[in-house]
C-alpha cells in the first residue's frame, strides 16, 4: 500500500512558532531572532544595544546556549530582563523553548525581545521561533566567503551586521565582496558594518530597530 502524504516535517515547530507570533502581536512586541556563528559577537552587540536603547525602549533578551548562563549574566548586568535557555547539546533554538521562556518575561511591559540563537551558521535558519524578523551577524575574522557557503541563513535574514570592522586591516576580509555576495542571495538585505566592541557604527542599526519597534507599537 502506498500513501501520498506531503506533510511538512517541521510543522510541529511551526505551529508553536505561530502561537508565539500571536503572543508577540497581542503584546505589541517586536521580536528579532539573532543568529551567527559562535564568537561573531552576538552577546557583545546585545550589550551595546542594551546600553544604547535600554533607557528608551523596553527590551528583553532570550539567550540560547548549549550550556552555561554566562551570556545572560552579561546582558542582565546591563539592567535588561534576560532569560537563559540551555539547549543541552541542541544546535539551534526551537519554538517550544522560546514559548517556555516567554512565560517568565513581563510581556505587557516590553516593546522589543531579541532572541539570541545558539551560535551556528547552519540550522537555526530552518526553525522559526515566531519572530517578525531574522537577523545575522558575520564577523570579519570569519572570512568574506560565508554568504556563498551558508546561503540559507543569508536568504532568510532581514538585516546583516558585519561585525568587528575594527579588525578589517588585520583580516583577509573583502567587505565589498561580502556585501555583494550577501545581496545576490537576498537583495532586500539591510547591511550594517560596525564594531560592537568599540561601539562604532551602531547608529544606523539602532535607527532600524527603533523604526521597527515604533511601527509595531503604532499597530497596538
Amino acid at each position: 500500500m502506498e500513501v501520498k502524504v506531503v506533510s511538512n516535517i517541521l510543522k510541529a515547530n511551526e505551529l508553536i512558532a505561530e502561537a508565539n507570533r500571536q503572543v508577540f502581536e497581542r503584546a505589541g512586541i517586536y521580536a528579532l531572532n539573532l543568529m551567527s556563528s559562535p564568537g561573531a559577537g552576538k552577546t557583545t552587540l546585545l550589550e551595546a544595544l542594551a546600553e544604547e536603547l535600554g533607557s528608551e525602549i523596553r527590551m528583553a533578551v532570550i539567550e540560547g546556549d548549549i550550556a552555561t548562563a554566562a551570556d545572560s549574566e552579561r546582558i542582565a548586568a546591563k539592567g535588561v530582563p534576560t532569560v537563559q535557555i540551555n539547549t543541552g547539546g541542541g544546535c539551534h533554538l526551537e519554538a517550544g523553548m522560546v514559548a517556555r521562556a516567554l512565560d517568565s518575561l513581563p510581556l505587557s511591559e516590553l516593546d522589543l525581545i531579541i532572541i539570541e540563537n545558539v551560535g551556528n551558521l547552519v540550522c537555526p535558519a530552518d526553525f522559526s521561533l515566531g519572530e517578525q524578523d531574522k537577523a545575522l551577524i558575520l564577523s570579519v575574522s570569519e572570512g568574506s566567503d560565508k554568504p556563498k557557503k551558508y546561503p540559507a541563513m543569508f536568504r532568510r535574514s532581514s538585516f546583516l551586521v558585519i561585525n568587528k570592522i575594527d579588525l578589517l586591516d588585520r583580516c583577509n576580509f573583502n567587505l565589498e565582496k561580502a556585501v555583494s555576495d550577501a545581496r545576490s542571495i537576498q537583495p532586500n538585505l539591510d547591511i550594517f558594518p560596525l564594531s560592537a566592541t568599540k561601539r562604532e557604527g551602531l547608529a544606523p542599526l539602532i535607527d532600524w530597530l527603533r523604526q521597527k519597534v515604533e511601527s509595531i507599537k503604532g499597530r497596538r
Binding site: M1, E2, V3, K4, V5, V6, S7, N8, I9, L10, K11, A12, N13, G89, G90, C91, H92, E94, V122, C123, A125, D126, F127, P147, K148, P151, A152, R155, R183, S184, I185, Q186, P187, N188
Partner: protein, 114 residues
C-alpha cells in the same frame, strides 16, 4: 545534530499516517529535502534508523530525495534552476526572485502492509 529532532517529528507523522491507513508495518518512506534546508540525508537516515527500532516503522527503508533549488521571476515570468547560490533570474537578471522549490522538508510517501 538537528537531524535527530527532525527524525523524531518524521517518525511521529509516519506513525500517524500508518495508523490512519490501517497499516501494520511500514516498509518504505520517501522524504523530500530541499537543497536550502540544513538536512544532511546521511545524518537524517542515521538518526531515523536509531529511533525507528521499537516502532511500526522498525523495518522501514528511508529514502531522502534532495530537491534542487528552483526560482521563478516575477518580472519576466520564467522558471529556472538556481546553481551556486546565484539567486537571480538567469533570463532577465532581476534579483528579486521567488524560490519555488528547494526550501521544503516534507514526508512525501509512506509504503506499508496492512
Amino acid at each position: 545534530m538537528h537531524e535527530l529532532s527532525i527524525a523524531m517529528s518524521l517518525l511521529e507523522i509516519i506513525e500517524r499516517t500508518a495508523r490512519a491507513n490501517g497499516m501494520s508495518r511500514v516498509t518504505k518512506v520517501l522524504v523530500k529535502a530541499g537543497e536550502l534546508t540544513s538536512v544532511e540525508p546521511e545524518s537524517l537516515s542515521f538518526c531515523f534508523n536509531e529511533i525507528k527500532k521499537e516502532s511500526i516503522a522498525a523495518s522501514a527503508e528511508l529514502l531522502v530525495e534532495v530537491v534542487p533549488l528552483q526560482g521563478c521571476c516575477p518580472v519576466c515570468g520564467s522558471d529556472f534552476d538556481i546553481k551556486d547560490s546565484k539567486l537571480f533570474c538567469s533570463m532577465c537578471g532581476n534579483r528579486d526572485i521567488r524560490i519555488i522549490a528547494g526550501e521544503e522538508l516534507c514526508l512525501f510517501q509512506v509504503e506499508g502492509e496492512s
